[in-house]
Symmetry: C2
Subunit: 164 residues, 2 copies
């Protein structure tokens, strides 16, 4: 990650995309959201969704996966250039999670994140707090998920291993 | 589920608890949140968390699992008594997700949900919207997760299969 002083409001990260397959949808649902419209095609047809679709938590967790992959790729590239990388602290949480459309079998969701606020942390000297609007858009261009997450980002010259 | 007219603000649902094991924490993280402090004990000790801990998305998805189990148990009991059950519609989303403390290996999190608002849906005649504050508390009594979710609940006399 860049140090928080080097991040800019409006900066956009393209995180990549993921196609949701029936086995993946059912495997997540069996463990974390065993409602019939996430588990069984025939039952899903009769539900308000009309077809098998992914748990909203699956769509959200997939954002996390692509974000982690994106950050790890970026760090590896920075290290290859001999540049220092900023550590990310814990996330205090997020807000305004919206599941806007169902994610059906075969849908490909492209995820992106846009920086909407950067500020110095009051409680953690040397660190910043970054707020990001995260979105997922399906292959028809329809937004399916949107939420705002907040995360601590190390500042230039601050100690790593913080905040505790 | 009860019909939305039979739900009361302040009503509390005890959803049960779940102990987070190292294999479960690592399996979730490997698929959805492959950061070292969720995957590797030795690396976690050196991180800001100080020990292996669960992805926040894992803690949240586990709430969903216990909520689904709770609702399905309740519906089965109602059917056994010969009572009708209300259908639940999709969730438009949730808000104010807070990860308040890490969930470490061996922590047992008890989840509960409290109804904080019930209202008739404007867009979906006959249906209601229920807002619930969801919490998870560890074995020391410390809250670890809190968020507010919203879900459509069928009303008495309304058609099932809605809302679309």
């Amino acid at each position: 990650m860049k140090f928080y002083q080097d991040l800019r409001v409006g900066e956009k990260f393209e995180l990549g995309s993921r196609t949701f397959t029936a086995p993946d949808i059912k495997a997540f649902a069996a463990k974390y959201d065993p409602q019939l419209f996430h588990l069984d095609e025939a039952a899903a047809v009769k539900s308000h969704f009309g077809a098998l679709c992914a748990s909203g938590w699956h769509t959200a967790a997939t954002w996390m996966r692509l974000m982690v992959d994106f950050l790890q790729r970026g760090d590896a590239q920075a290290r290859a250039r001999g540049e220092p990388t900023a550590e990310m602290g814990p996330s205090p949480g997020f807000r305004e999670m919206k599941w806007l459309k169902p994610v059906y079998v075969g849908d490909t969701i492209a995820y992106a994140s846009e920086v909407i606020e950067i500020r110095a942390s009051g409680s953690r000297p040397g660190w910043g707090l970054m707020s990001v609007r995260n979105t997922g858009v399906n292959q028809k261009g329809e937004p399916v998920i949107s939420f705002i997450s907040v995360v601590f980002v190390q500042g230039r010259g601050s100690k790593s291993g913080e905040p505790s």
